[in-house]
Symmetry: D4
Subunit: 251 residues, 8 copies
């Protein structure tokens, strides 16, 4: 209930057009109103686009293909953009039947259906350290592009051959915000952040073995970065990085 509705209701009460019992009921009901659709196993949040600038997103992990497809159908029915992350083949098959014009990004493991989106103000530069970090990087890219951003991908520029990233200084300087994806020792964000004057979103990946501990080494490296401007998201959370970068790029 917006302020105008409240004022109108009170005037109707004053004028006797609405009795107090009815007004009481409408006010009470307004407090109870749910800004979401309840599917039983899930409450689809239709106001999120208004509140946060982008629609509810489906994390495929731990949901059955049928659940993913049902939530996807509900979202699309409201004309929202659709994004399913961590979507495996069976989830894609289930969604495709409900949302025939959806698209599957196999490397990024994402399902999308692009609705309208406000274009971002600048370019998001996306760096990754190694070839194996690509799935996570692509999840970030697909997310950012769906939300209306231009993404410039700079892949395989890990710090062990420092000239590779140094040679990209021009493209980096053109960024309004940078996403850096890296596994193993996770040192790339520190180097990149020292080269630019814009925020760097660091994404540790689970790429590595032994004492990489599934991405913990990279995560710790990024949290302890001695460079300015580095903030960090969860291991392998390409979606989160894409989403934050888009928020910044739309400010």
């Amino acid at each position: 209930m917006r302020v105008e509705e409240l004022r109108a209701l009170l005037e109707e009460v004053r004028d006797g057009r609405v009795d107090t019992a009815k007004a009481h009921e409408r006010l009470t009901s307004a407090f109870r109103e749910q800004p979401f659709e309840d599917l039983g196993f899930a409450k689809v949040d239709h106001h999120r686009e208004i509140r946060q600038g982008f629609p509810e997103v489906i994390l495929g992990l731990g949901k059955s293909p049928a659940q993913v497809a049902a939530i996807a159908a509900e979202i699309v029915s409201r004309k929202h953009s659709l994004l399913v992350t961590r979507a495996d083949e069976p989830a894609w098959i289930a969604v495709r039947e409900q949302v025939p014009n959806a698209e599957y990004h196999a490397l990024a493991r994402c399902i999308t259906l692009r609705g309208e989106s406000t274009p971002g103000k600048g370019t998001i530069v996306l760096c990754s350290a190694g070839t194996s970090d690509q799935p996570v990087a692509e999840e970030a890219a697909v997310t950012a592009e769906l939300l209306g951003n231009t993404v410039d991908r700079i892949y395989d520029v890990g710090v062990a051959g420092i000239h590779r990233v140094l040679s990209q200084r021009a493209r980096l300087s053109a960024a309004r915000v940078v996403i850096v994806v890296a596994g193993m020792e996770g040192a790339l964000p520190s180097v990149v952040a020292g080269m630019v004057a814009v925020p760097v979103i660091a994404v540790p990946t689970s790429i590595g073995y032994g004492a990489s501990f599934g991405g913990v080494a990279a995560l710790l490296g990024m949290l302890n970065s001695c460079a300015n401007g580095v903030s960090v998201v969860n291991i392998d959370n390409g979606y989160g990085a894409g989403c934050i970068a888009s928020m910044i790029n739309h400010l």
Copy 2:
């Protein structure tokens, strides 16, 4: 050596005003030139303000008062803003002698001397969950203010009494970027991020006991946030959060 200097030099060579030996020496020397002052134990980075939009900052932790004061004097001599973080009483005494008009923020454990700074475009809202999180929150605030930002502090609004943060909806909505500081379970960033449409920088603190493990519980809570727009910095890293928020607020 800027592009213009290079062009000028080449023209001088062509015109015979500079011989090749001399030009060779100048080019070689340009490659070698260090954009920092070497104090032996420290290399003060005088180009950082140009590269990154703010000056070199001194982390007081692990440096002797004499070292802190020497670096501070070097920075101030170039008319840069001064910021020393994690500065205890002895460091402050040592700096005060070298930089008499510096200021000490005891709660934030920071020493500052404000130079010129470009004003940020909007307001940085700074929330903290509990009274004990204040030192870290103030480090973020002092940093952001030194860098030219307006900071709106909302303190002691932890999630256990959810009405406290809900009652601040209006101030939160006015933010261009939000910093959320919380120890213990670190749940506040998730709730705040669900209420705003701008980036949230989450700062875990070491406040807590037992299974808080010096801030690890809060850190993990924030990294695993299911809300959009949350990125995380190191435990107790108020400075880092203030710095990133300022970068975003100047975009």
Copy 3:
């Protein structure tokens, strides 16, 4: 041997109806008596219902289908309620042959056969944060229902969209005890506990990825809750939560 039996025995000895050797033997044997059935690989505890208010429960994890079925048959032969948790398909097939009228709850991975049970005094409200937490939540629900409780399920009300849980205030207020199931950052129990005046049993789930570390992030979040009334059980331990909630609801 109850007090009355002891007194009777002593009177028989005094009256010469039982000689001392026999009495000695009976007393000694009473000390040795086992309140359980020994199946070799398992000792089924038939007195647990008397001691603790509910029967022995079978944790399916790490037992062969044949072992599960044999223990189940032994329990049912004594007219006790049957509950097998973490029961996969093969365990269900094996039990079904021994206990034809048993029931399988596929989502909750539980096998039950309902015996008599004392009704709980109030309602157990069961909240879960996300769709993927449902299997654990259902394990709690099946357990509590088997033990005679009414369960009110409120699913998918994670803190990232705080209005979802706030809109359930009325149902929460009606609870005599609340179970909150959440993975990832595990912040929901803190918020719920701030809204009610009854005990909250928090169940972390292994849902999440990266730095959720198989439920550790949620576990730590819950242990560090700054809200009153939150106690915690093991990761994914829906059964334990259902059982404690039932105990409290029967007080």
Copy 4:
């Protein structure tokens, strides 16, 4: 604003005794009203007693003596019971000046001033494993007593001499809820929970050395308890256990 106030207001509007502008203002203001006192560094929650059955409690850890005393004075000014936990000597001295009739429990490290409280329905039995666990146990006892409960203390009954706890069967059976405090291997809650039919709140302590890891061994032992009815709070969190036990004892 309660339901009755809302109904009265609407009737006044209908009858013309209050005009719509005024009514609009009062309704809007009701939504804005803060159920807490803002001290700047802290927001004292005066409605918590209504919402949760006991007053706001001050965690002394990480607060200055002056801050503790100011919050204490504010709480006492509203005639609420006062409880400060983790209060060291300086905090006690500061509070004593503001609240002269407060009491200091040195072993429990608590400051209290007892207001009115509803008596609990039964007895809370409080067991501890070793002499060194007493400070944590006493924090739980002081909390529970302040909240109106009778506490029966059974100390130094660790499992290494199992006859010690077995000899307390009668007192344990008389409990409506049991708190078990233990460090080192934390095995006592499992044994106690097997002897009673009521909920057991387990409190791991940081007592131990080497691989006890500051209470982690005890915490893990308790979370993995194979006994029914055990839920766990944070390491050394005597207050939390006392509070939950009181909630249960007042149902």
Copy 5:
């Protein structure tokens, strides 16, 4: 080279029956002699039975069936007892062809061929906490029996029903050494050690879920045992426990 051989050699040199070059060569060669058979990928230690009282044992984990079979054949060729632990079906098939009269213990995952062994002096009592701990317990039992010991198995006597282990006091008292196998919270060794006056070898198992962390909770519980006489071996190391118990039982 034994002392007697050395003396004889020196006398031969003195008497001129052996020249110094020859003697020098024999002494040098004695220093170089290898008390093991080199299979290239493995050095089978044939002197271990002399040095340590039992033969070289094969840990099946991480070896190919062919490697296991080759080492087994080499051991059996010297008339030593054979023990392969962590032997899966393929290893058993490979060994059976090389050592036709070997025996497979499927539950214990061991292959044995019993040679001569000195009988132990007393009884080894072997307790386990739950049905799922049996494979590890059986590995201990098979090992101890192969080494000449009598083993008394007491299974499924976890501390949650403390009367189960208390009812076994007589059998426990008859032990010369006790092995206790337990997963989850690992509390059984503490209770058993409080009931006997002989050494207790505690074996944590990986049985459990969530915060059992693959046996870490049980391991920590056992290391922190406040009972006397408890020492601990690696998680799931039934073999190690059986071997130590046998050493003690042969003293």
Copy 6:
């Protein structure tokens, strides 16, 4: 109540010398009888010597000097041997007043008063890896000697100079049981266990820095020992090792 007392009582009942009410009372009381002295904050276990072959031992850690002295006095009053471990200077001063003929072992941080003890059957050999491991080694030695054992100390024989431990082969061979104390990488028990045919009790110490993690590296090294016969106690638990070694040496 022993078996003979029970038989006598029953005969008295039969003969009418004791009436059934009296007999009933005596039997009931026997069940209730506590084999410990209750000091309020501690229950001193006077039957432990009978049950386990050595008296109750006081862990000084976390107890006040007054508590330590009171328990010590109680133990000595029953003519038991006294052992206080982790006893600092203030504890020693407090005990000395209550137990004037007690002895303080400063390096081992132990207080003892030697009562009667049965001599062990053989020698306990005690090896330590480095000079800094001595306090823990001495705690083991003092414990074992108090319990009637002969201890042969072999100190500073770490594996980095392998000839040092190899040169002690004769003394090692004379052991009935070996205790090995080592910090840092904790490799000494593996080497020693390969040289002897008797049980090895391994004690990790907290000596080291960096990735020794307060003894965790040594603990893990010992738990993973590939040598036969090694069992492990808690980090720095010299007392525990001395006690187990004594148990074995008295078999």
Copy 7:
């Protein structure tokens, strides 16, 4: 651009043979020049052989067979030696088609094609503790041999039978650098480093179970080695050790 090229260019400008625009362009382009081939998903580093003495190596882990084969083909096209580590069967099949004369080392999981290499100055001795450590040891051996070194393999000489490694003193003394591969407690490097005067590269392996934590126990053991000359690489990183040993052996 080398120093000679720069000098030549400047002379051409002076002499008017090259105009300043052209010279400017060439200098600028020299700064931009990439010493790598960009395959889109990977940047193959063709200058690494010049910079570091050996060619770019492909870590097979996390790359698709097609990606591995494409990078391999690119490397071979430049006449560089080829090394793919962590190469499974499908990767081998894919590479074999692109590089027909490549070789597959199944045990070491490596693909190689040997180009020219400078012979190392001495011998690399490679020790492993157990049979199961062989795959990692072979990865080190294959790497070192490809880089021109002679490798002397000493396998299965774990410390539990210390005479096995002691008997290899002569071969160890002949080493210019030693690689020691060990899982479980990881004690072998300490012993070996005490026997030689050359650097020891320690490689922990993930061989073990329970508290070996996938190689962490071995890693910590090696990092805490009290012997001189031990440095450590990542768990299972045979390649890294081979590469470092070759660097040292070519000095």
Copy 8:
């Protein structure tokens, strides 16, 4: 006993100049001879210089000043070089009395007395990332210099200002071996190793806060380095790095 002594002895036996009893005794005694001095609490290893190329070094940590001084005196009495690491002020005072011409390096916390040493073949370059890493770096430098090496220090060249380390390319290229000391994210060794063709010894330091976990973040970063040639020593182990670098520099 050397080969020549053995041959001489045998010839004397043959010639009757030494009888067999005497020869037997001498041979036996040679086996028993200890190549170390036993101070009771320490065995000073006088043959280490022969075996390993440098003398026994004293780790001051955990030793009393008196113990340090006694071992120092013993070492100096044999004309060996003296090195005490982790030496605090009291240790220095105690040593100074025994070894008047010793020298104290306060920043490096080392005591030295330089004996003869063979000069290393090249230069050891020593880089550190930050000012606070200096004490560890200096420990490495003092060690390497004592062992006869030339050390070129490059301090405060952390990766956040990548131009600082890039500007040192010439000095780095002149190294025969490089030591890199870094705390926080520990990224510097990866960058440096990509710039040189010689071995890099990486030393993580405990400098940092929060999620640096006392150097663990840096340690993991270094172990996971994707650059070739990096091996790692324990956190803060400057001595170890200096020692290995010296070994390599003397090959």
